[in-house]
Every structure is written in C-alpha cells, then in structure tokens.
C-alpha cells in the first residue's frame, strides 16, 4: 500500500531533530536517520560520541582520507576533529550508562504514547524473535534525553506510533520526543502531544496514520526547517 501522505525526506527529519541539540551537548547517534543528524550540526559546539570508542567524531571520510582503523558505530569511515579522544569499549559504555550523554537519537520500529519503543528485532521479517541489540539498550538505560527519528509509517503504510507495541521492546518509558516525516510528537505524562505537523496536513490527517491517540498541542504549528 502506498504512503497516504508525502512528508519530509529523511535528511529533513534529521535537520528538524538536530534543532534540539544545543552547544555543549555530548550526543550519540544511532544507525539510520539519526546518523544523518551529523550533517546538520556544523557551527554548533557539539561532541559526537561513537560507542566504538571515540568522542569528537568528524564527518565521513572519502578517498585518501579513509583509514580502515577509523570507523563510526555504523561501520562508516570517518575523520577526526580537534579534541578527539579514543577509548576502549567498557569505558565507552561506562560513559553511556553513566549518564554522560546529553542527547541520544535512535531509530525505531514502533513507539507508543508512554515512551516505550521497539527496535532491535523484527520477527515478521527475520522469521525469528531475536535480532541485533547493539548498543541500543545501554543508550536507553543512560539517556537523559531520548529522541526517536523515523518514518511515520512502515513500508506498508501501517502506523509506527502505535497504541500497543507488538515487536520486542528495546526500553520502556524513556522516549522524550518523536521526529517523523509528518510530525513532531512529545511524550508527556498525559500522553503523546502533537506539537508540529508537515505543512498542509491537519491533526486529523496525522491521527489517521497514528495508532496512539494524540493530544493536540494548543500551540500546534507547522514543522519549520
């Protein structure tokens, strides 16, 4: 089934999410759309941590700049920024669990209105109920702010912001905000609040492709890039 609404391309989801990153933040970006956020932080005094074991990860490396001993956590060659530090894996996860990261951005298969999300196993696609946990659960355990960036619906047009999670959980009650191609949603104690919509769409449009019952923010606005 085709997507019901056309919204932001992936790069623009990343741009919108990047607005939440402030000078001085230590940030860890997961695989997928979160990795694209690194394209939008130029000019900010932000430190990217890569769980493979470095802080001050630089932009992607190409051609002669590629060093096979220097990759990010998505297995892409990267470069060094001034102030870079390398450390080993237990130090890396110590700082993650220890709460030293200000912002964590992850992709997800499903998120619900209580801040739970699923992202590490897709039994329907894999034919088994195990998958790749990677660093996701450690990042959630230590997260101060946990942001999810993803497409609003799955490839078949089904909702990913759901009422009940059906995939294996990554974490419960940790997600703060959701950035999709169609909307920005904040998770509050009262439930998921629709804060911003893709220009031209109504709250009813967003609700029609969302499983969780959305609360409409009094100051609802269009997504600004």
């Amino acid at each position: 089934m085709p997507q019901k609404f056309q919204g932001l391309p992936r790069e623009m989801i990343a741009l919108r999410a990047s607005r939440e990153i402030k000078d001085g933040d230590y940030v860890n970006l997961g695989i997928g759309i979160p990795t694209l956020v690194s394209n939008w932080i130029e000019g900010k005094d932000v430190t990217l941590q890569s769980e493979i074991g470095m802080t001050k990860t630089g932009p992607l490396a190409f051609d002669d700049d590629v060093d096979q001993d220097l990759i990010n956590a998505s297995c892409q060659p990267v470069t060094e920024l001034p102030g870079i530090a390398y450390f080993d894996i237990f130090d890396s996860f110590g700082m993650i669990r220890g709460g030293y990261m200000d912002v964590i951005m992850m992709g997800a298969l499903q998120v619900n209105g209580r801040g739970d999300y699923a992202g590490w196993a897709n039994p329907a696609a894999r034919g088994m109920d195990i998958g790749n946990i990677g660093g996701s659960m450690d990042l959630c355990a230590g997260a101060t702010k946990l942001f999810i960036t993803m497409m609003h619906t799955d490839p078949d047009g089904g909702p990913k912001v759901v009422n009940e999670i059906t995939f294996p959980y990554t974490t419960k009650g940790k997600v703060n905000m959701i950035f999709t191609d169609l909307a920005v949603i904040e998770i509050t104690p009262e439930g998921p609040v629709l804060k911003e919509v893709f220009p031209g769409l109504t709250p009813e449009d967003i609700q029609s492709v969302t499983g969780a019952k959305l609360i409409i923010a009094p100051d609802l606005k269009e997504i600004e890039l």
Binding site: S50, I52, Q68, C75, W120, N132, P168
Partner: protein
C-alpha cells in the same frame, strides 16, 4: 619473558575442539583476521565465538568459511546478524542460526563489554540497568528455546537492575597495532574497541600485532594493554579489508 611465536599456525596449534574464543572487533575494525584464518586452516570444531559487536560481519569471508566447515557451535554477540533482513535470509550463518544448527546468544553491547571486563577483574557477576523493560531482563536471549534460562533482577534505591555474569574465555584472539616481546600492546584509533577488555578475559590471550618491537621500544606511558594479560604474541602483515557490513 619472551612471548613471541614465529607463526599464527604455531600460536593456535594447541586450541582444542570445543574451545570458547573471545573475538574482538567492532564490525570491520580491529578484528584478528589472521588468527581466524589460522583457525580455519586448523579446522578446530565445536567452537564458541564470544564476540562484542559483529566482528564476524566485518570478517564475512572468514565467517562463511567457518560455517561451511561446520566449525562453529555457538556465537555470543550484540550484533551478529546483517542489518538487512533480506540479506540475512541469504547469509549461511543466519540460515544456520534459523535452523538451530548454530546457537546465537544475544546481549546488549555494554553488558557484553562488562561481562568480559569483570571476568578479567575477578568479579563473578554484576547488576546493570541495561535491558530492564525488555526480554533481556527476563531470560537469556538465544535462538535455542531450551537455553532461555531465567535471569535475576534486584531493586536498588527504587530502580530495577539485571544480574549478568562474567564471561571468561579459554582463549582470546587480539588484534593490536604494535606489541613488544613482553606482550605489551598498543592499539590504533577505533580498532581498539573490544581488544583491551577481551585481552583480560582470555585464560590464554594470543595477540596478532602489525608491528613487533623489542621490549623497551614502546613508550611505557602509552601501553594500552599490559603484557601480564598476554601469553602469546605473533607478528602479522597489515591486512587491507573492505570497510563494510552490507
């Protein structure tokens, strides 16, 4: 003590069938490929490969060879499968996992790092917040249903934690940039990753080094792994590899 072996074949010669071997590397970076190739050549069977973050996806040729030779009994990892489910369906390793011919035991990456760290530090188990709210707090996550043993949890100051155990291995294969005859090691950039912690977890730790130097030639303040953790050192050529897991 001089710990240098003259070849990788000699360095792995006494590894017996059924051994558990720690394999460091984070996808393509820092994987002890030459030692793995020696293991393939030797044909050791019933192996448990204790990994951290997909080193065998980064060394896909070696993995496929090990699977074809039926050398692997079990893999422990946080990221052992291809990201793309479509690609995974074609992968001999994932096919063997789906058919329950190979066990895949899955942990969060930071939990694995700590399992190796405490194993080397004389601590039998630890409590971690990681995995609470997921199946990880309920039982061991594995494709083999009979092995899904329940886990213990405990509340400290109102917050729940999961009990995880040390993971000591019979051997650890290490990839270092430089090493001396005493087994002091230096790693390079992000190829460090799981290497230092696994070096402490192995009962016998075998380090392949791109550059073997005489003792005293490594700046003492710059040693990453002290030689006390390393039993065998072998010099290997610097191997170029594809930086990809797709």
């Amino acid at each position: 003590m001089d710990k240098v072996y003259s070849s990788v074949e000699e360095a792995v010669a006494n590894i017996e069938d059924g051994a558990t071997i720690a394999i460091p590397g984070f996808f393509a970076a820092g994987v002890p490929r030459v030692l793995l190739q020696a293991l393939i050549k030797k044909g050791t069977k019933n192996l448990t490969l204790a990994c951290g973050c997909g080193p065998m996806l980064g060394a896909a040729e070696e993995l496929t060879q090990l699977v074809k030779n039926k050398q692997i009994k079990k893999v422990i990892d946080s990221y052992g499968l291809y990201r793309s489910a479509t690609k995974g369906l074609q992968d001999p390793f994932e096919q063997a996992v789906r058919a329950s011919e190979i066990e895949l035991e899955v942990y969060p990456m930071g939990t694995l790092a700590e399992k190796y760290r405490v194993a080397g530090a004389g601590i039998p188990a630890f409590y971690t917040p990681t995995g609470v709210g997921s199946v990880v707090e309920e039982h061991i996550v594995t494709n083999i249903i009979a092995n899904r043993k329940p886990k213990e949890t405990r509340v400290f100051d109102g917050k729940k934690y999961v009990l995880e155990y040390a993971l000591k291995t019979d051997y650890a294969f290490i990839h270092a940039y430089m090493g001396d005859r005493e087994g002091n090691l230096v790693y390079r950039k992000t190829a460090r990753n799981f290497n230092p912690v696994m070096a402490t977890a192995g009962k016998i730790t075998i380090a392949e080094v791109e550059k073997l130097v005489e003792s005293g030639k490594i700046e003492p303040d710059c040693v990453h792994t002290a030689g006390v953790y390393v039993q065998r050192v072998v010099e290997v050529p610097r191997v170029s590899f594809a930086i990809t897991i797709d």
